[in-house]
């Protein structure tokens, strides 16, 4: 069973070869091919004896070793090149072993470093405070509650109807600003007085939201649970300019 355990630790044919080279205390650059080939094949045999699945790569390497060994035994003519690659097969093998060895070495070094989740740990759970907000503006939801109320007053399921609406958020924003310019302060509810579809409610609402965001309008109550009022923020005359700057973002509000 010890043999088996050892066999399973080979990462591949190159790993096995490096192991054999080390065990024989020979140099990678000067591999005694006959000996190493013999031991390599013997190892594969052991693997098969234990019914281990010998991966195709191991067999390919076996063939390569046998091929190199046979070439070693033949006198080599100066002009005769390897029929496959135009290079000496042992040389290519040496190059591969050396390169693989380099990465094995650095892998060892990496493994000895302070590894995250083995040696050191960072905070596991992002606390609530660390969650990216992006929309920490709770006021949006406060406003949406108002929207919900308005929606609840409307007949249910007019979804098809809303698709036909042509009014856009930008148009509503302009209307609302005009309205505020002439009326001064208005009641939130009055915005929806003549609105009949959910779509229009929502478009109106979104328009109001946009205006709050660019600080063109202000929404307030004079007392708790009192009527919600809307008024133009100071410097409303600048609002159209602000809106113009918002143009690219407004595209998605079109109906």
């Amino acid at each position: 069973m010890t043999t088996r355990v050892q066999l399973e630790i080979f990462e591949g044919p190159l790993d096995l070869l490096l192991h054999l080279i080390k065990r024989n205390e020979v140099s990678i650059t000067d591999i005694p091919i006959a000996t190493i080939t013999e031991q390599y094949l013997a190892t594969l045999e052991v693997m098969q004896t234990f019914n281990l699945d010998v991966a195709g790569e191991f067999l390919v390497m076996a063939a390569t070793l046998i091929h190199i060994k046979s070439r070693m035994l033949l006198p080599m003519a100066d002009d005769e090149e390897d029929e496959e690659e135009g290079t000496d097969p042992r040389q290519e093998l040496v190059r591969r072993l050396l390169e693989y060895q380099r990465y094995k070495d650095v892998a060892d070094q990496l493994e000895r470093r302070e590894l995250l989740t083995r040696d050191v740990f960072v905070r596991s759970a992002a606390p609530a405070e660390a969650i990216p907000p992006g929309f920490r503006e709770v006021s949006v939801f406060e406003l949406l509650t108002a929207l919900k109320r308005v929606l609840d007053r409307l007949p249910k399921d007019v979804v098809h109807e809303v698709m036909l609406e042509k009014i856009t958020v930008r148009e509503k924003m302009t209307l609302l600003l005009d309205h505020l310019r002439t009326q001064g302060k208005i009641l939130f509810e009055s915005l929806f007085a003549e609105v009949t579809t959910r779509m229009e409610v929502i478009v109106t609402f979104l328009a109001m939201l946009e205006l709050v965001k660019v600080r063109a309008i202000r929404i307030f109550q004079e007392e708790a649970s009192g009527p919600i009022q809307i008024e133009a923020a100071a410097g409303i005359e600048n609002a159209p300019a602000v809106l113009a700057m918002q143009d690219p973002e407004d595209d998605h509000h079109g109906t």
Partner: protein
């Protein structure tokens, strides 16, 4: 075990814990250390962090102990977190709002409300685990119905959906903060 070593271990455990840590739980890990010793070590750690004006403090909360940032740095943390580049866009925000208040709701219904295609936005929200498909609507095509997730509640610091802001809270509205904007310097400089 030495007291300083125990303190160091406790600090490490508090650091990796995802919630308040009870003395009980600490005792399970640090077997053999008496509860009184744990408690006095915690007190010591708490005092040290406090007295040296550290950015991280140890607080006793919800029956356990938890490392938290120093209150005095709150505005800076808000500025740091609020100024993150990967902020949610307006479209995402609004879609999330509609889902939060109208759940369960289908993609088509959201699109009907917003008047635009919301595929990308829905995917973003799904990716960030703020919404999830909760069921299928019994209409042709059996579209998914979306609802918000616990992460959504966490993000808005809500106990549950019934705690979504109500009309009463409207009074608290002054001017909403524009995301990414700087914090007022007066409050920041108090630190």
């Amino acid at each position: 075990m030495e007291r300083e070593a125990i303190k160091s271990i406790i600090e490490s455990l508090l650091f990796v814990a995802d919630g308040p840590l009870t003395i009980q739980r600490l005792g399970e890990v640090l077997e053999g250390v008496e509860k009184e010793d744990l408690r006095s070590t915690l007190d010591e750690l708490q005092a040290e962090l406090e007295n040296s004006g550290r950015g991280v403090r140890l607080v006793e909360v919800a029956g356990g102990y938890q490392l938290r940032t120093a209150k005095v740095n709150a505005d800076w943390i808000k500025k740091f977190l609020g100024g993150r580049p990967a902020r949610m866009g307006r479209a995402t925000l609004e879609t999330l709002a509609i889902i939060a208040y109208r759940q369960p709701i289908t993609r088509a219904e959201i699109e009907a409300i917003r008047g635009v295609d919301v595929d990308g936005v829905i995917n973003t929200l799904l990716d960030r685990s703020l919404i999830r498909a909760v069921a299928r609507k019994d209409v042709p095509g059996r579209p998914f119905l979306y609802g918000t997730t616990p992460q959504f509640l966490q993000l808005f610091n809500l106990k549950d959906l019934t705690h979504l802001p109500t009309l009463k809270e409207m009074e608290e509205i002054t001017l909403p903060e524009i995301p990414g904007e700087e914090l007022p310097l007066e409050s920041a400089e108090e630190c």
